[in-house]
Point group: C3
Chain length 337, copies 3
Amino acid sequence: MPDPRFFRCVASFTLQQIAELSGSKIASGCDPDFLLEDIAPLDTATERNLSFLDNVKYKEHFAKTRAGACFVSLKYVDIAPKGLQLLISEEPYKAYALAAQAFYPEENPKSKISKNSHVHTSAKIAEGCIIEAGAVIADGVELGKGCWVEANAVISQNVIIGNYCRIGANATVSHSIISDYVRLYPGARIGQDGFGFAIDNNGHIKVPQLGRVIIESHVEIGANTTIDRGAGSDTVIGQGTWIDNLVQIAHNVKIGKGCVIVAQVGISGSVVIEDFVVFAGQSAIAGHLTVGSGAKIGAQSGVMRDVPSGETQIGTPSMPAKQFMRQVAALKRLVKR
Amino acid sequence: MPDPRFFRCVASFTLQQIAELSGSKIASGCDPDFLLEDIAPLDTATERNLSFLDNVKYKEHFAKTRAGACFVSLKYVDIAPKGLQLLISEEPYKAYALAAQAFYPEENPKSKISKNSHVHTSAKIAEGCIIEAGAVIADGVELGKGCWVEANAVISQNVIIGNYCRIGANATVSHSIISDYVRLYPGARIGQDGFGFAIDNNGHIKVPQLGRVIIESHVEIGANTTIDRGAGSDTVIGQGTWIDNLVQIAHNVKIGKGCVIVAQVGISGSVVIEDFVVFAGQSAIAGHLTVGSGAKIGAQSGVMRDVPSGETQIGTPSMPAKQFMRQVAALKRLVKR
Amino acid sequence: MPDPRFFRCVASFTLQQIAELSGSKIASGCDPDFLLEDIAPLDTATERNLSFLDNVKYKEHFAKTRAGACFVSLKYVDIAPKGLQLLISEEPYKAYALAAQAFYPEENPKSKISKNSHVHTSAKIAEGCIIEAGAVIADGVELGKGCWVEANAVISQNVIIGNYCRIGANATVSHSIISDYVRLYPGARIGQDGFGFAIDNNGHIKVPQLGRVIIESHVEIGANTTIDRGAGSDTVIGQGTWIDNLVQIAHNVKIGKGCVIVAQVGISGSVVIEDFVVFAGQSAIAGHLTVGSGAKIGAQSGVMRDVPSGETQIGTPSMPAKQFMRQVAALKRLVKR
């Protein structure tokens, strides 16, 4: 059960209501009026709790759970403990996400501009915003409706931020145009100079970084992630792309829609990433390359050539996944001989 | 000699006193009353300085040092310069640590709550705390005795922090329960949402992150390291675990006691790390795996299966160290042919 | 064209003036009096814009550009579109950098100490400084002429900073001596304790970290990069070295002049890096090693031995680049058989 000091459960639901809001199906023999008061993981759930089985690793937790109800795919129904109310879904994690959002909707604190924040008189702050203590909002900034700027965040001159964005504590934003429903986690650094210089015997010569960062709607950017502004053209993060913690995105990078960039990934300058691409943790890509839509890059991989659409690559330098697996196996054999 | 602008040497000690507080032994022929006034590295130490030889790489510095006294293991006594006072220890680095703590104990500035900090009236601040300018402490926060919250740090709603903790400048903490003697370095991000979403054609669906971060006593967390709170269960960092800079720890991770996590390591969601495990720099581990107690993961390695207790693994995918070394050698031979 | 909300173009120049300030040569048949009003990338430039071709990947953009003038090396003159004014340079990127600096010189806002900053009365602030809201400057700090301390940055006790430095928003600096023209990007962490402890059954024993960080002139340090102070001797960053985002530099590291350290690199404790060394993205080096001057370390490489001057190494463990390429090819063949 989530700690009530940090999370507020706002409602109870019947099994029927949960089935409807989550797009899942009540298994035959289950009780549509069964009341669910909270959510919990399989191993700690109790009688009035809703849980889920998604990763097969937790099959045994499922077989022994004391939860009242559970999202599960059809193939595990047989091992359900007696009396467990079953909600059948082929995407149990998605169904759980929707249910959890119903029990625990995003908080919306009351609009308030802290008297301890520092908002320049020329900044335009739309209605419904929260600006916490120590936040600094410079001259010329425009903030849309219902934005939440957390404590000690810094938004620099002339930055434009859309509606319903949340800027995490101690994050910084400059030289950026940000759309609606964007969320920056604490310590994210958006819009600083890229790493641009010409090498010279008498000291590197700085190349002025004259582009911006453009962030489309529904983007999430993780804690302490850094996104440099463009050098000439802009750095662009496409709609609905999610970026994890400690990721580096260099100048001029274009990322498409719905991509997933896992923690500690490094994207070099001027890379183009099309839609729905996944970069797993600690992977990286050299500059000026293109990754086709739907491609997947394995963890810790190093991409050194363009990646075709839909291809899964692993390794450094990265190669199609099958080839990588074969190389791993070949090396193993080589040593065994 | 440490720069007195930043460090204050509080006392002098005789060789005898140093031997006692460090658990080392005065070599025969040395003078127990020899006075030591400071500590210094082998190559810059002078007559009244105490130094140490731990890494064999610095053997030549030892042979030529002008230090007054030195911790050293028995096997290097023969190459000591004439007149050097020797303190014999088989753990010279540990002996040095204890001596250095005696010369330079941790500073304890006077308790003071800056009038430029922003402490909510409902926060409970125990006696002896220091709260610096710009620090923000939200409603419901509890801070134990003798805590030190540095400038511009942010502690969010209802966070509980034990006694004698230090929260670094510009660090942020939310959704967390922290025990005693915990230290967060500047820019650490503790308790933000994990990277949790279900993939959907119409945009990723956020999974509410409803767990906490639990940090046990005597934990150190490096600069700009990020620790996400649990999604369902909590993220837990065990007693006496040390975490370096720029490390990523994802939601639901459980780390045991006395572990060492070196810089830029990435620990994926729901990983279980038992006690006294070491992850060397830039290594990483995939989600939902277990690392047995006492295991060691080499630098830049990528763990893709459970690791047995006590095993040392290297490589991507990681394998027992011996096997990795054999593969490296085999590849070398393959090319030479 | 750079967004005038964020960048201010201060002047127009003739082709002749640009040739002079950039050290390039007007191609025969071009018009020295041709007026250039702005700069832009090849694909978006218009008639009065100056552009450049450096990376051969963008050759086609060059062939179709509508720019008024362009820096280009001699070998691409033949494919220039008709009417394009050509500035010949064998270092077109450097020429462009100098021109861009002329159109868009670094901003120099008016000196101002915000009444919402927190400057200790004992700090010495030289003339011409900017100190923004929320910045905290502790007792004993000395700040040279023309420094710019951005919002919510924290400079701790007795730190000394030279002339014309810029300390980014939310950055922190302690235990450091910084020379002139140094720039720290947002969220950089300079001078905190290194990761120093002796392992002990009853809990790791902290080794007091009693050195400093010394930063020589003209150094740039990227966003969220962490540089720990020395344990005994100092951590030193040499003149004109550029460090990208999210880099980790451990205690006692000595980096020479003019080095380039790309994003997410990890430099372990007590490493010595001589002058003009390059570490590409996500590469790392084990402790106590030396990298000779002019050496280049490939992306994601892991250096486990000293690197000779001038050598290019790749791989984990790193090896001469040629050998690495041969191993990659041999592995490929091994699988094809």
